[in-house]
Amino acid sequence: MSDASTPDDAEPSHDHEHHHHRLEGPGYATPQAAIEEGGREKLAYVMSLYVGTDVDAPDFVAVVDLDPDSETYCEIVDRIELPNRGDELHHFGWNACSSSCHVEGLERRHLIVPGQRSSRIHVIDAKDRRNPELAKVIEPEEVYEYDLSAPHTVHCIPDGEILISMLGDADGELPGGFLELNDDFEIEGRWEPPGEIEMNYDYWYQPRQNVMVSSEWGAPKTYYPGFDLEDVEAGNYGRKIHFWDWEDGTVEQTIDLGEEGQIPLEVRFLHTPESTHGFVGAALSSNIFHFWRDEDATGGDERYRAKKVIDFEPREHEDWDMPVPGLTTDILISLDDRYLFGSNWLHGEVWMYDISDPSNPRRADSLSVGGTFGEVQEVQGRELSAGPQMIQLSLDGERLYWTTSLFSSWDEQFYPEEGERGSVMLKADVDPRKGTLELDEEFLVDWGECPAGPARAHEIRWPDGDCTSDVWQ
């Protein structure tokens, strides 16, 4: 199973691999190399789910054709069905990325696909990029043995091992932690000493700086059933980010983002491996925080700082009782570290900010599409039933794609039609030079037309690395 043991089995998947010695590792030497050598995305893998509905079918990984010259452009050309129902596929990742560029023989070949609700972890062999196959399943009981559940963010760590943020203990309560898999996709154990954190969600690491940052959602038993203001008032949702010693797996510093930092979800360092700057989106407060290492700071290890730099104001809606928050559910940074993109799921907005000066983001452009306030409410006659949610950007930063499902139970609260109609995947053309976004009305992928019934669509990945999974050493 180990991808490091079968170098001769490697199937070149993009031009980049032809340029290098065959025994070099996966990915790209630098973020700029990814931009130059990656080529246009031709396929996407998209988490697709039926959990929580009455559709008698398991969740699946959709393979979407993104090649404009293909006859099946904008179609789901393959579906990797998983063996069980009830998983809630959510986030996923590769067994190897550019952080292992130096590891000879390692391939970016296996997708690690956790079930958020089931705690089941699937390994999909994507050697054949258009027809991936399920290779292995780690059952929930094996995960619970480490008193962890609710797997979320998957990153490879250099040398072929895999780290998964886990949001709860075996009972769906706090604390969460991290589960480590070895390069044969067996559970190695807990990565961190238990008790380092209470809440967990997303994480990102910057190995050259020996730092990892993690964020907080809440206990699985809190967010699984749906969003409840009682839980906000009770302090059951997170508002902290944690800075870790990457080698030791221990927390060095915790920053409480306060009332304006409620539910910090997606967290990203800049791609440049030297950088200590990053951003985190506080979903409920609908703010973006910039964090950075303050080299002039004194006071022991407390050297990271965080400051709110973008504030999305709630909006009044005549049919809603209270001002509606944007609900900033996803952010990403372009590979050239020039733009921060994000989605305000409730408002119905995708946006891009110039972060050339990360302390002072400058709004470049936005698109009002879907959601509660979106100016565009249908594409190609297909009514949009939810706002932009998970986003993914092309390596060259010229095409931004997004899906519309957040989490099945939260969808049901805010956009109940999403379950009835299914999700869509949409695209905007980005002009990085001018800093503009333009909706591509020719592009639509519709999960409402899946054979077993309408499905939800969540996270998007490219076969050969993307802006939200690749890390550089």
């Binding site: 929580g52 009455d54 769906g172 203001l229 609260q413």
Partner: protein, 124 residues
Amino acid sequence: MTSHDVTLEWPDGRTLTLAVDEDETILGAAECDGAVLPYGCRTGACGTCSGRLLEVEGAERDADGTIDACAVDDAIAYRRLSRALKDRHRAAGYVLLCIASPRADCRIAVGSSVHTELVDNPWK
């Protein structure tokens, strides 16, 4: 082994009556019978499998029409803590079918729409 008749009722009018042993879960019994019910974690944490008690044999109803809370507690035994349910949900007769075993004959509303009743859009 004592069993109880559990009648599942879907929104579209379908019903299914199962004899569920006291040591099996209602979800497990339904699966053995080939019935499709929504579920997620199977540990009582996520609420995806929620059903709502419509009737418990011999139980009185409160003034607001809900089944007496004591009767709800007596009708269902849990093999783990029902973490996904808050007190208000339990009082209203919601049941996590993945960890619930019957202790009385009962009728339960099932299907994904039951789960959506647990929380509203707080802004609307």
